[in-house]
Symmetry: D2
């Protein structure tokens, strides 16, 4: 794909790459000059450029897949436990949780993802294992797995998520013991995968819910709904800016990856470890911005 | 259009219509059983059902047109004065304005619309007149005008908007005298138009920026950007829910109207005066939900 | 003391007693008609009326004693970890903690008391045992002890305090493991004592720092400082109202007790299990209000 | 009074004086090395040191007198329109006002003082004139007056207070037209007086409500209540710290003055234009701290 080559050249020449996340050592030491981008067509064919086959820490990108799994099993009832509205300023996250009686604003802020994980654990008995197996099937990569070093780091720095979980538990919005939930949650954050893996794994969101093996993972309506939540809530407090610049449903992670969906056409995954001040990959957002500009692909 | 007829029948049968806005008498006395819906094709052909030619108070729907006018004149510099992120819980609006030094979160909350109006006034000397003339041309309705009774009511109940304007002025984010700005702003809120008028007037957002007379109102990129802001911020604190259910860029007003855009296809305007607790038309959201479900039209 | 008799008669005749705390069963079942009041002179002589010798759950009243112990050992350095300003609306507690980087506003909100307990545990290895022993000596009651049923209830309903502790730990403002800290904290809340016990135990605050056995527990300046913190922060979000009506430094607990200090004169403890909507004993505040009105004793 | 001389020497030697308020030119140009302190005995005899007879801008100190006037005329009904609780973090002022439906937390934050002024205007037709005349009588200084330059500066920089007033008007908690109210309010802020004037004028708070001419300005209970509100709310977001260090009811202004009350003994006024980051006079707080330490006078 010539467009990918052109973007890689532009990104390599761009000044400023942001700074890798530094709250855990495993991420802080990543080389910020790395860059990869992959595009998966509806049939699973993947094109890539740069470090597109290098595994990285998927982090919050996995929240999309956990949500898809939970929504497919639980249906609309899920929304009694978590909202689907943007959260506004991150600064408000805790006060909003208090103001709204322990119901997080959406499934992509940490509080919301904890709730979804809690429910998936209740439904399956093994939320993180279910997620890993799902990703292996959808990505076609049977070796996809947790990075145990990242998991250990997350656990050692888990006070803030523990606070969120206990806080929601005080509103009876968490069903499982907090330590069990945190273990599941930190495992999900520790999934390691490449741009190729994640672009392919997200394919069902471009195929209106159809899985890699032709099975119906989600109804057409549910696939549309997840794309909508990604667009309004997928990039922390930069969802408006991301929609404005990129114009696609997307979900980022602090490992520097971003997945994006062009419904009916393709899925993308970009990776650059350096983050902007709102936690999104600098080169990743730039690459997606160029991609939609060069191709004219956008939902708007 | 048979789909419109079907929707009108369903809406008529639905229990619960919400409650008209009651902060000013002119809106409080509207009959909540009224319902209209119009679809404008790219060439300006309009189909409608119910009260689709009855004028109603456009209110915040006009914020989209004011933004388009200001963005076309001022370009990207506008975003130094107003953000483009969802605002989260309405309860936080004032604290966010304080926390973010007088820069409103987006152009569709009142604080943001005041800023855009202030800038359009500086650029044109007559923000509301410029808006009215623009709407007359784009809707093809030369009689479209302000409802002076609504304007007077807004003025008499304007303390909250005066507070917002003075507050932003204390951060030097308002350039004109507050009374002048408020007069412009309340005139904009008082535009009276029908579903047919507004569906046609919004056509340039589906035509990637091309006006009713073939002129370039906005660049393709700018048209995409406005649609993005509508999708993430257009329906108060229900943007996530609206994206989830309807899946189209949309903008609502407390008069009970909602415009929505299917980029490259058509524009819609629905009207039902009864509002839900978040300020959006109950029958309007329901009608758009049905429309996208029945037609499969959605950006996702 | 005739004044105590008069107050008891008035309280018995007053309509409305509030509602006992219901977040744990041990408190919810307390008879709200109980009422006791004790006054301890500087030499330890105690006068009482009603149920003044009945043990009740001291709850947050113990925060005063924990603060005194910690301040006497650690001195001014304590204030780097906890502030001494009123917290304003309880609704803001969490956002303030976030805004102020994990430093609680004062030692009498739960977050602040957790910090003080954490420090006392570091200093002594046994915060709750140190507190109990201190109270036994100062009250002259060697049988004063924890109510293990209340402790178990607190532990079973401890998610909110666990959230606060983990949240502050994420800011490195908690030194001990959260489960250890919570166990200490819940024991402190579970101290059971009578009005007579607590009025006597607080005597050092009226004696400018001198303990029951004549030893210097606090400097004159420190005793004054604790009284100041009690007056500005001692009754949750009703400190202003309590100062206005009663005009004495005081500290309340959700068990329905309140201690108050007339520096240089005496200490008081009242108990009535029914609480108002801000968590203070209805009959307790009324009794103290009458006491200062009838005696003219007040700091103002 | 030797103690005043000693304090003046210590203050002169102390490093760091803070920075004069700079939001209006009239205050920004004040020489921060100035310092004055006055003590008024119950009979009106005044002792002073340094610049104790130099007039300065009283600013928020006048809020105490406006409150006393309004409370004496309106009684307890006043508290339906303004609370008497500390406001917590200043950052929250607006959100609290919203959360509490336009009822300010206390009469000493700007929002609360606007409400009290509004009510005094309704009661007298001339709030600022009533205040000036009252201060002339109580201070014994018939030349005490407004500084018109300060008044003009306040008016030119009044957007934030205008925002507060309009915001409360939207909750129907302001009875007079906002421009009328602001003119009254800015006049009050512009009162110019010396330490000697203000120490004498506040004497009724130490005399349990008795005015300079022996008349009953307030009941004993009302005088106590105002002292209580001063102690819990009188020094912005440093009330707890002020109570801790000084231990007296006090009220500060951004002109650098502070009045303090020793009930039954005397009143004090200190002045030093340099402010700390919370808006209180650096040398003023230090001088009061030394005064209570050296004399042992404190309410605790």
């Amino acid at each position: 794909m010539p467009v990918l080559e052109q973007i890689a050249v532009e990104i390599a020449a761009a000044p400023g790459r942001g700074t890798p996340a530094d709250y855990i050592p495993a991420l802080a030491t990543t080389d910020p000059r790395q860059f990869g981008m992959a595009v998966a067509e509806l049939d699973g064919t993947v094109y890539g450029v740069g470090d597109w086959e290098t595994p990285f820490s998927a982090q919050s990108i996995t929240k999309v897949f956990t949500l898809a799994l939970c929504l497919s099993m639980e249906g609309e009832g899920l929304w009694e436990h978590v909202g689907r509205e943007p959260s506004g300023n991150p600064f408000n996250s805790l006060v909003q949780l208090e103001y709204e009686n322990g119901i997080p604003r959406n499934p992509f802020i940490n509080a919301g993802a904890l709730v979804v994980t809690d429910r998936l654990h209740s439904l399956t008995g093994d939320a993180s294992g279910t997620l890993r197996d799902f990703l292996r099937v959808e990505s076609g990569n049977p070796d996809l797995d947790f990075d145990e070093q990242v998991w250990a780091s997350e656990t050692a720095n888990g006070d803030r998520n523990a606070a969120l979980a206990h806080f929601m538990a005080s509103y009876h919005n968490i069903a499982n013991p907090v330590p069990v939930l945190l273990d599941e949650y930190f495992h999900q954050c520790a999934i390691e995968a490449s741009c190729a893996d994640l672009a392919r794994a997200a394919g069902f969101l471009a195929r209106h819910g159809i899985g890699a093996e032709g099975d119906i993972l989600l109804t057409r309506s549910q696939a549309k709904q997840i794309n909508a939540v990604m667009l309004t809530c997928g990039t922390y407090d930069a969802a408006g800016d991301f929609a404005y610049r990129v114009g696609l449903p997307g979900k980022s992670g602090v490992g520097g990856g971003i997945i994006a969906v062009v419904p009916g056409h393709c899925t993308l995954c970009v990776w650059g470890p350096g983050l902007d001040e709102r936690g999104n990959s600098v080169s990743g957002v730039a690459a997606l911005d160029r991609f939609t500009t060069l191709t004219g692909l956008s939902v708007f």
